[in-house]
């Protein structure tokens, strides 16, 4: 007969209708699946009792696929068909991936149209990898990992899954989140929700320990570093701030040892398989040094050359010290964003296998003046939290439900005239959220408006990241400034953005679901944040200049129109020439970037047109009143 689990009071499920739900930690280095069984979060092991599934996928020429340990074992032998750390490529274009010279993969940059409901747009596609089994996208590679976890869960739970909660780094942008969802769908998994990794860790700790206060989640994974400041109160998890570095993780520590090995043994320019082999040895050495004072690294290269070096814990700590230091910069920024100091942090949660390194624990303890929490397995804590969340979403818990709040990492907005970015949803807003703002037309008779959705903190659009574009057409012709166009931004619980534009008078509407093919990298987010504060002064000046330039253009248009209509009738040659001179003067300084000169020229042109404007006013008044009796006028 079937095996039964104990349910919460009153929540027994009908036969064959068990609400089986799992949490999946789709990691850069390793992936895990966990569930809540008999009221307790447990990580599901494979038939060999292993919890961690290496996030490694190997493709064969016959179309076969290997995932996990077996694939990992072959990464030295078959590096270009064995994809490791595919998470780094999720939702990224070739330009976003950065320096690819260190990877053994054959990249293909494939442009693809972005999905829009109404409206149109194009964005460069996600990077793809050429393997023996054909060109594969990171979404497909990730789905292979998810398929294995899904099969494991189905076997362990004795039934089909209702759905899964999949965790993503807090910094994942819309493109990366969407790519993760696509991978799950491809693997036949119903995504109940995407959950930020630090939030998942907080859930795992928050429920097990039930302590209120502000916590820092320090997550040093295989390839990414995330710091999140979370507030736990009355069962509500609120993310106060997030920060991080997507190119910093346990792999970098391996790389330090790898470089040390090269130097120590006088090696250079190794082939792909030798590189893999030495990196694997370096990782083993790093893990060894968590428990031991020194370790011996041995390897035999393809050339037959044997390598043997002894690395002490002390030397390892010294060579990796600046890596540890680099994790503390985002920590400081996150604290500053949250408006908190170290003294406000009640506890520090350690997540990610790399936090097992004693030098990392020591540095974090010193920084926060307290011993970090490590009582849950740092490799499993995220998956466990996701499982607990999945269990709630699947309906297996009733009364003591809690709400989950996440934040938007970077402000969302649109481009306005002059290439300025108008923020609509400020960063660190909790999601789900919706904000609306009214905009208007710039020119007389304007019937269409281009909406350019951008993300970033800077004042100029060129310094922000472009997410999507669409057009609102069918605006009734009106004078400039008369139309009221409401732009609404909606971010759902998964962090996916919907933008709509609606002309209030006619009801004309257009909208877009922002599913960019690729988006911001964590590094970019970090860099953009840094730059926004560094460039604050310059940005302000640039904005002021742009505003003057926009005003100048508007004025030039208006004067030109007036001249065309009434110039000859109302002004003599000298008068027209004076105004033309003023316009030429303004045009001449417009692009110089000298804001004072532009302002002066605007004033001069205004002054030069006073008499003309007066004459036009008189003319239109007399035209309106001409030939009518005073008594006919409604006053």
């Amino acid at each position: 007969m079937a095996l039964l689990q104990i349910s919460e009071p009153g929540l027994s499920t009908a036969p064959h209708e068990h609400r089986l739900a799992v949490g999946i930690d789709l990691g850069t280095t390793n992936s895990l699946v966990a569930t809540v069984r008999n009221g307790i979060g447990v990580v599901l092991n494979d038939s060999n009792g292993r919890a961690l599934l290496p996030s490694v996928v190997r493709y064969f020429a016959d179309g076969g696929v290997q995932v996990g340990e077996t694939a990992q074992a072959m990464q030295s032998e078959d590096p270009s068909n064995t994809i490791v750390s595919v998470k780094r490529f999720m939702g990224r274009g070739l330009n976003d991936v950065g320096d690819i010279s260190g990877t053994p993969y054959r990249f293909v940059d494939a442009p693809s149209p972005i999905a829009t409901s109404r409206g149109s747009g194009q964005a460069p596609g996600m990077v793809q990898l050429r393997t023996a089994a054909g060109v594969k996208s990171p979404v497909e590679v990730s789905s292979e990992i998810l398929k294995v976890l899904r099969a494991r869960a189905g076997e362990a739970l004795g039934g089909e899954l209702v759905g899964a909660v999949i965790t993503v780094p807090a910094y994942f942008d819309d493109a990366q989140r969407q790519a993760t969802k696509d991978a799950a769908r491809l693997a036949g998994i119903n995504v109940l929700r995407l959950l930020n990794e630090p939030t998942a860790a907080a859930i795992a700790y928050g429920l097990d320990n039930a302590v209120e206060g502000v916590y820092a989640v320090y997550d040093l994974g295989g390839g990414t570093f995330d710091i999140s400041i979370l507030k736990l109160s009355k069962g509500v998890f609120e993310v106060l701030a997030t920060n991080g570095n997507s190119a910093l993780g346990g792999d970098d520590f391996d790389h330090r040892i790898y470089c040390w090995l090269l130097e120590k043994n006088g090696l250079s320019a190794l082939g792909a398989s030798d590189t893999r082999r030495l990196l694997t040895r370096a990782r083993a050495a790093k893990e060894e040094l968590t428990e031991h004072d020194e370790t011996r690294v041995t390897a035999i290269l393809q050339s037959g050359e044997a390598i043997e070096s002894v690395l002490s814990q002390q030397d390892f700590h010294a060579m990796s010290q600046n890596l540890v230091e680099r994790t503390l910069q985002p920590v400081r920024r996150a604290l500053r964003d949250a408006g908190l100091s170290v003294a406000d942090i009640k506890g520090v949660v350690m997540v990610g296998g790399a936090t097992r390194m004693p030098q990392v624990q020591r540095a974090v303890a010193e920084f926060f003046h307290q011993t970090p929490l490590t009582n849950l397995d740092p490799d499993k804590v995220v998956a466990l939290g996701a499982a607990i969340q999945a269990n709630v979403l699947a309906g297996n818990r009733s009364s003591d439900d809690w709400l989950l709040l996440d934040v938007i990492p970077l402000s969302l907005g649109i481009e306005t005239m002059g290439g300025l970015a108008e923020k609509i949803i400020p960063r660190n807003s909790t999601i789900p959220t919706a904000r609306a703002q009214d905009f208007t037309t710039f020119k007389d008779g304007q019937t269409a408006m281009s909406v350019h959705v951008v993300q970033g903190e800077r004042e100029m659009v060129s310094d922000c990241r472009s997410l999507a574009r669409f057009e609102l057409r069918g605006i009734p012709p009106m004078v400039a400034g008369a139309a009221r166009i409401r732009i609404t931004f909606q971010v759902d619980a998964d962090g996916l953005l919907n933008v709509s534009a609606r002309e209030q008078g006619s009801g004309t509407e257009a909208h877009i679901t922002v599913k960019p093919s690729y988006g911001l990298s964590d590094d970019e987010i970090a860099r953009m944040l840094q730059e926004s504060s560094r460039h604050a002064q310059g940005d302000m000046q640039a904005r002021a200049l742009r505003e003057q330039q926009v005003e100048a253009n508007q004025l030039l248009d208006a004067v030109q129109n007036a001249l065309d209509l009434d110039g000859a009738a109302l002004l003599d040659e000298a008068g027209q020439a004076r105004i033309r001179a003023g316009m030429d003067g303004l045009r001449a300084v417009l692009q110089t970037g000298d804001i004072h000169a532009v302002k002066r020229a605007i004033t001069q042109l205004n002054d030069a047109t006073v008499a003309f404007a007066q004459a036009r006013m008189d003319k239109s008044v007399s035209r309106a009143l001409g030939g009518r009796k005073l008594t006919d006028l409604e006053v």
């Binding site: 039964l4 349910s7 069984r37 009221g39």
Partner: protein, 107 residues
């Protein structure tokens, strides 16, 4: 009249209740649903109802409502592992028919 747990099952139940952090015992019962008429109910118990029947087995309190008792009287609960899956198994002497999976039964 009794319901019993194997030692293995009792150890797991105690462990689950301890980790859950609350609960006075295990509630066992039946409801009319499922493909063969009756379905088992297996829940944590946070309180004892006035008409509950109470059994002790290997240190675990088992609660049964009086209506369910005739269907489960004499039953033994075991905890077993089948491949990657694990969970509770009921050995019920009252069962005459069972659906293929054993999740529901007739008496």
């Amino acid at each position: 009249m009794a319901i019993s747990l194997t030692e293995n099952a009792a150890r797991h139940v105690k462990n689950f209740i301890a980790k859950r952090g609350k609960g006075v015992g295990l509630r066992v019962g039946v409801r009319t649903s499922g493909c063969s008429g009756m379905a088992y109910k297996l829940e944590f118990a946070d309180e004892v109802a006035s008409d509950d029947l109470k059994f002790e087995s290997c240190g675990v309190t088992v609660l049964v409502d009086p209506k369910s008792l005739p269907y489960v009287d004499g039953m033994e609960l075991d905890y077993t592992r089948e491949g990657l899956n694990e969970g509770f198994k009921f050995k019920n002497p009252n069962v005459k028919t069972e659906c293929g999976c054993g999740e529901s039964f007739g008496v």
